[in-house]
Symmetry: C2
Subunit: 217 residues, 2 copies
DNA sequence: AAAGAATGCGACTGATTATTCGCGTTTGTC
DNA sequence: GACAAACGCGAATAATCAGTCGCATTCTTT
């Protein structure tokens, strides 16, 4: 019934119950796999609960044993992806800040390589990420994660150059994230060779974007 | 009933009838205005036909006098936007190709300024563009336009450097479009001053992106 | 092997919403 | 002013789906 996630349902995104018997522990995986495959097949449109259940060899009712609603399934798939960004950027902030132009360039490259890896490791998830962005109910949830990520990019920029104004840092943070995301989504739809070329392109763009603001150019 | 646009309905995106009496010529505008306002208000979710009709001071039936389906309304709003890109890029291709580094930089800037203007002039339409991207039925139609635009960016790159390989041109074309689009959407959500700063950022990124491929660096 | 818990089922409910259609009203024309 | 065409209406239709609930089946434990 509920077609839009209101306060109540927003809270109810956690798994409804933990599987207690062995047979069912695999069921959750089957559901997630089915949702992933269907999302990949259908592109933008998120799969229906019935389709997910059938693909997983289950009934709708069983799906609802483990997930409070449809959104929770997609979100569960995306969760690892969504949480690895903050981890990776935070790790880069812990490193010693660069002191000269060469070190700075190396720091950009490290952040760059680390974030790229997230995309490569989760390549199969990308259709889900795109579906979430296109879904009116899930979009706000992703936006929350995005804000975190932007804040971390901004924090990284200020880690690299402590004198950088907040406003500039947050602007550059948004652009780094969005440019990286847009280009890598394109890259993952191409072959691996093209992906690598696009990575080089992104690195040049990132450098061009941030260099003027770090007094290192 | 039809919830998804199949072959038949894809064809039926043209206005159902031309208004014949004066009173109704304004009605189409009222419908389009209502759809625009509601899309802006609601963000991602596309407005319902009932909502559009009520906002326009009409009944649903009247809306269907002028539009064959809901999608056609949003597409009508986006049409000017979608068609101005090809126009603008094609115009830039007609100019004489640059012969040295300085001229090349100026050509990039011109393409850049012209495309930026499209965004500024259609700023109010952006929510509609975003809604279309997030709508499973309309996405494929936008993708067709996007392919055209990419091809034109690629053609522009080869106009500027005729020796550029097709494959490279099309890769850079995609990235120019996507990077420009992503950044400008961000920019238009900020104040005008920030938009201008982001424009500078985009220009630097475009230059960094294409420079290595034009033997001018 | 029997009880009770966990799991599985799927027809059904309820909500939403695009689109139609027959009828009433307005407008333009002669 | 009368006729037809255009316009406007909105209740009704029908398709789609998320989520529920009571009953059936399977497992675990003792």
């Amino acid at each position: 019934m509920k077609r839009s996630l209101d306060r109540k349902t927003r809270i109810a995104l956690e798994p409804r119950k933990q599987p207690r018997q062995q047979r069912s522990s695999k069921v959750v995986d089957r559901i997630l796999d089915a949702a992933l495959i269907l999302t990949r097949e259908q592109g933008t449109r998120t799969p229906t609960t019935l389709a997910i259940a059938q693909r997983a060899g289950l009934s709708v009712g069983s799906v609802y044993q483990y997930f409070p609603n449809k959104e929770a399934i997609l979100l569960d798939l995306a969760r690892r992806w969504l949480s690895s960004f903050p981890e990776v950027i935070a790790r880069r902030i812990k490193a010693a800040p660069p002191t000269n132009r060469e070190e700075f360039r190396r720091e950009v490259r490290k952040l760059f390589v680390d974030t790229s890896r997230i995309y490569l490791e989760n390549a199969t998830l990308m259709p889900v990420i795109e579906a979430i962005s296109g879904n009116a109910d899930l979009r706000p949830i992703q936006d929350e994660y995005d804000e975190q990520i932007i804040a971390l990019y901004a924090a990284w920029l200020q880690h690299v150059n402590p004198a950088l104004e907040d406003k500039i840092a947050s602007r550059l943070g948004v652009l780094m994230m969005d440019v990286g995301h847009a280009c890598r989504l394109v890259g993952l739809k191409r072959d691996r060779k093209t992906y690598d070329l696009i990575e080089d392109d992104v690195e040049r763009m990132w450098l061009a974007l941030v260099s003027p603001y770090l007094n290192l150019d």
